[in-house]
Subunit: 232 residues, 2 copies
């Protein structure tokens, strides 16, 4: 059995809060437009627009704002005042400058893991935004490589881990999304570790692969240490 050499870590909602800012902005969006449709209908239409646009925009704040504006004019037509469009633009810029907040125990855990293993950050989203958040986190030095990717596929994981001692079979991917962090990493031949976050975007939902012998769940990032020790 191969030993664990490399640990891949997701960023948003694994190292720091993220989804809560999308939820707050979505809430503000629904309030701004509540003359035109009820809240749930607005949020459903926004999600439909996000899904429809994913192939064009990819993941991240800029695409989210474009989908909010699209939905606003879809439901409100010419009745949507300029001030609402401006508020949606401003809420996006606000997300893009919001200071990050590390999840509990993350700084200590990442520093500890970096002493014994090669750490790789693997994240989706807008390039500049993810770089900004990493720089602000103070964790940049802990990672041997940073991969900001347009999607998380088995192939992406195979390539991200290929250059490291032990290759993909000696690697583990850790994150809050079963769909993006765990399932494709398992398919690539790595370990897949789920660290659930109370807020996870509906697009990231998937059935836990409970029978897979390389699948693990830990309640929080600090709980990773014993598992890492056992596999190394």
């Amino acid at each position: 059995m191969s030993k664990l050499k490399t640990i891949g870590l997701d960023a948003d909602d694994t190292l720091w809060h993220n989804e809560q800012f999308f939820r707050l902005t979505q809430q503000r969006f629904a309030e701004l437009l509540n003359d035109h449709a009820d809240q749930q209908a607005l949020i459903d239409r926004l999600e439909a627009a996000e899904r429809r646009n994913l192939g064009h925009y990819g993941f991240g704040v800029k695409g989210f704002v474009l989908s909010m504006i699209e939905t606003a004019v879809e439901v409100g037509g010419d009745q949507v005042p300029a001030s609402v469009i401006n508020e949606l633009l401003e809420s996006g810029r606000e997300m893009l400058r919001h200071p990050i907040e590390l999840l509990p125990g993350v700084a200590e855990t990442v520093a500890e893991l970096a002493e014994s293993h090669a750490l790789v950050l693997i994240t989706k989203g807008d390039l500049l935004d993810q770089e900004r958040k990493l720089a602000q986190s103070g964790l940049g030095e802990m990672f041997r490589a940073v991969e900001i990717v347009s999607d998380k596929t088995p192939d992406i994981y195979a390539r991200a881990f290929a250059g490291f001692d032990g290759g993909v079979e000696g690697a583990m991917m850790v994150g809050n999304s079963l769909k993006s962090d765990v399932l494709p990493a398992l398919e690539a031949g790595a370990w897949g570790v789920h660290v659930p976050h109370e807020l996870t975007w509906s697009f990231e939902a998937a059935t836990p692969p409970v029978d897979h012998d390389r699948f693990h769940v830990v309640p929080g990032l600090p709980d990773l240490a014993p598992l890492v020790q056992r596999l190394s």
Copy 2:
């Protein structure tokens, strides 16, 4: 004197047309809003918005569309109909699905250079969009590495070339932007080769470093071969 081992290539307007699509969309933007301001004033305000937002949005189509919408509501206020916002959104999606068109002689030149040198693609823009264009170009296999970066700085070039035989001193960066492709590459210690394109975004203008002994200009990518041969 170090010998040339690695060639970095810019993508937009070096390998394929790009700026022309921004200009066409900008034109359409100015026509859509010509009840509210004259064309040049609209384009000036759009450029001011792009500059203002660069630190938030970075480079690429999504940020461009957000700046167009911002400028539209800035000049038109509540008078901007939903149909105009929709057209701006649609023009962005159109740019994001527009088939790429290689510049003359690019396919042959890149294939030839790849036989003797390590090629690295180094480009700014939206992650997913740049990946799409590279996949569509059919040139993906020619590159040893692809770096989609949020900005082009001396440090980015130093890191991009560090892993290759000959390091940054044995590397050349080739592109249509003096500001992004040539000057920071020279500062990092590489050769900097300017391949002018008739359309270059105003943000990318800079004074040619005519006295630098590692600076070269070639009229088109196919004219790179003799220079590469001489330096290798």
